[in-house]
Amino acid sequence: MLWYIGRRLLQVIPVFLGATLLLYAMVFALPGDPVAALGGERGLSAAVQEQIRSQYNLDKPFIVQYLLYLKGVVTLDFGMTFSHRPVIDIIAEAVPITFRLALMALVIEAIFGIGFGLVAGLRKGGVFDGTVLVLSLLVIAVPTFVLGFVMQFVVGVQLGWLPITAGRDPNFVSLLMPAMVLAATSLAYVLRLTRTSVAENISADYVRTARAKGLPRAQVTTRHVLRNSLIPVVTFLGADLGALMGGAIVTEGIFNIPGVGGTLFRAITTGENTLVVSLTTLLVLVYIVANLLVDLLYAALDPRIRYA
């Protein structure tokens, strides 16, 4: 098992090199001159631009820039932004906030998605099942920003129950509404996955055997039906963590959360290439780790799966 984890973690190195090289090549190929744009409408004088370019190695050829970046990364120096701040500081500010938000969303969608999905699956074709299916379809169909604005206006402005924005103080309470909005779409998917899976397993042979043995109903449901139904759901949740980290840009924008999505978007528009590469690489790593966790969870859920 440990050997397996170690081998999987070693794979991170080639993935990291490949990802940074590809990303670096892509941001390098982006049109436009970020240094010239620093001056706004007035523009910067050629001399100042030249000075800034040499300061950030932007006057060197692509491969030299990339190797200098790698050299920095090895010594944990991810470079500076044009605003003279270490890239690592910016990442260290944005990532924890988004991670907190993504984790809250993940917990919400896991608890409610699996819970409702289980009930719906057990009573397939019932009123609860029908209602939940229609509602989840609705949630999938409504764009995030519509849901966000409606919740902000109703829950935030009119009822005044929760803060509208989380920018000044992203704590548990202020992140609750954004986490719910962020979780909504995935929640609907988790619910539907669980429901289908549970409905399928409930008529499986081993469930009939368990019942025939005289096991209590609750134990059959949790231990036999649910546990076996969770494999596809866990796969989805694992991939979703990565998506929630990098893809929360719309939600972060609406709720003014200074997280990864907004930082990445600004970095792309202002041509902060080292920040783009570092942040995106980090997201790649999150995906890798989340996938590893999912694989390990498989073994916990299904004893037949062993890693060596």
Binding site: P31, G32, L106, V107, T269
Partner: protein, 542 residues
């Protein structure tokens, strides 16, 4: 047994999420000005400063508003664009070229060190020094000893300290408006401590203005508190307990927070609320002209706009644009039709400069002028005018409206020529690669007509992206700068504008207005000529 293992994983995840969520709570707790109860910090919306808070390197509005709160210069601007001495006791010159500046006694930085002549001269020389690559260097290009970009490889010869309270500035050419420039942030002083550690003091400035930065929580909030060293009887002494400058990425969100009472002042009304904000906010809605003009620059390198026929084409396009209608329907009144090349907020503004009739909508005259130009040197009936702009903010709407006008009135083609980002757009402009006319916006740095004319239309100026050149115009700008009184120079600048109206190197479209609003918890909210709220005057009930 096996079930328990699984349950353990879930429980850990939940606990982890809660613990993570909880750890943020403590760090900023207790400073919750948003609720409005008990504290009297004024909250204002803004954007994250793009650079460290150093006056010589702050050239955008996000950082600009903060820098003007925490630093004080020789002069400051009133809401109406008038200028008054702040740290200066006197700014005098016999020939408008060599200026002697005397500093008043008793001014201190927030670390207790005195503001001396060296504080100014060293700060400006820091901005001038080439290797520092400061974005504001352009503003020192008037000073003797710098090159055209305002840079030098050592201290500028035009800056000389006489004693602790006196220094002299020698300009390259006479400029009667020099004292007027000095309220701009590039001319603020810097403390001695700054030069020892610029990086730290850019994050946590030592400053001499009405406020100091208590904490800069990046992308979230900048807490400004009254500067204990700022004199209580100073002209800009803070009338409130402090200002929380809250960073918003999204103007719609800020507007919602204002409506819910979580935010006191918004600096911009979002486009989605432009039609309703005056009803929503009542007498707490702000709509005043700004020192910003939008023009369409006609580049000189386009053959169809050269010579006599070219001027007729420029006039035809200008006459074909129905500015009244576009500002009303597209912008909901948040733009004001242009009547000159400057802005209504600058002293000396006039709607009646001879030649300004070319900005009036006149379909018949427009068509007639275009036909005359066609008779002289035809471009053909299938000619298509390109109007270029960056497409990363909302420009397509008004370009489409202008194009509709041009298509209908002049019976030629017209289309939007988008550049994906501002950086690419700027590259094309400076590289003479734009295949048509293009959008150019200009915001004044100090309230003077010359600040609208010189940087854009003077031969070889930094933002003269149309590459227009006219010796007579350049001469008038120089004369205007050397005139004995402001009134006299304003009159000369108006004459310079007559040349612009005759040749139309750019076609003025409209002025921006400052559209903003404030909540019920604050009083005395006023927006200045530069569209920025005058924060030190704002009062808030605790």
């Amino acid at each position: 047994m096996k079930l328990r293992r699984y349950a353990g994983v879930t429980a850990m995840t939940v606990a982890g999420a809660l613990a993570l969520a909880a750890c943020s709570g403590g760090s900023t707790g207790g400073d919750d000005g948003a609720s409005g109860a008990g504290t009297a910090f004024v909250t204002v919306s803004g954007t994250e400063p793009q650079n460290p808070l150093v006056p010589t390197n702050t050239n955008e509005v996000g950082g600009g508003l903060v820098v003007t709160q925490i630093f004080s210069g020789l002069v400051y601007y009133g809401a109406d664009g008038s200028h008054h001495n702040e740290i200066a006791e006197s700014i005098e010159s016999d020939d408008d070229q060599t200026w002697t500046i005397t500093i008043a006694d008793g001014w201190k930085f927030s670390d207790g060190s005195p503001v001396t002549a060296n504080s100014f001269v060293d700060a400006w020389n820091y901005g001038i020094l080439r290797q520092n690559a400061q974005t504001q260097s352009y503003f020192y290009s008037y000073i003797e000893g710098t090159d055209d970009d305002g840079l030098a490889d050592g201290p500028a010869s035009g800056l000389n300290v006489v004693d602790d309270h006196t220094f002299t500035v020698t300009l390259k050419s006479p400029d009667a408006e020099f004292p007027l420039r000095l309220g701009y942030s590039a001319y603020y002083p810097l403390p001695e401590a700054f030069f020892e550690d610029p990086d730290t003091l850019g994050e946590q400035p030592v400053s001499n203005g009405p406020y100091v930065v208590e904490e800069w929580n990046h992308n979230r909030q900048i807490s400004l508190r009254p500067n204990p060293e700022y004199p209580a009887d100073g002209p800009r002494a803070a009338q409130n307990d402090g200002v929380d400058y809250v960073i918003y990425d999204n103007e719609d969100t800020a507007y919602l927070d204002l409506q819910a009472g979580n935010l006191d002042i918004i600096q911009n009304v979002p486009a989605s609320a432009m039609g309703t904000f005056e009803d929503d906010l009542g007498d707490r809605a702000v709509s005043i002209p700004a020192a910003i003009i939008q023009t369409m620059t006609v580049p000189e390198y386009l053959p169809e706009f050269q010579g006599d026929a070219g001027i007729k084409r420029r006039q035809a396009i200008s006459h074909a644009i129905d500015r009244e209608q576009i500002t009303e329907t597209i912008f909901n009144g948040s733009r004001i039709p242009a009547h000159d090349f400057t802005s209504p907020v600058v002293p000396g503004y006039s709607e009646k400069i001879p030649g300004s009739e070319v900005l009036d909508y006149d379909a018949t005259r427009a068509k007639q002028l275009w036909d005359e130009a066609e008779a002289e040197s035809p471009v053909g009936a299938d000619y298509t005018l390109q109007i270029a702009s960056n497409a990363d903010s909302d420009h397509q709407t008004w370009v489409d409206a202008v194009c509709n006008n041009i298509r209908q009135v002049l019976e030629i083609g017209c289309e939007f020529y988008p550049y994906p980002t501002f950086a690419e757009f700027l590259n094309a402009r400076t590289g003479q690669a734009v295949p048509g006319v293009f959008r150019a916006g200009w915001q004044a740095d100090y309230p003077s007509m010359s600040n609208f004319l010189g940087p854009i239309y003077r031969t070889g100026a930094g933002s003269n992206h149309g590459f227009w050149s006219n010796p007579e115009f350049d001469q008038l700008l120089t004369e205007g700068g050397a005139a004995a009184t402001p009134e006299e120079s304003q009159e000369i600048y108006q004459r310079a504008q007559e040349i612009l109206f005759a040749q139309l190197p750019g076609i003025p479209l409209w002025y921006n207005s400052t559209t903003a609003g404030y909540g019920e918890a604050v009083e005395n909210v006023q927006f200045g000529w530069d569209s920025a709220p005058i924060l030190y005057e704002v009062t808030k009930q605790g």
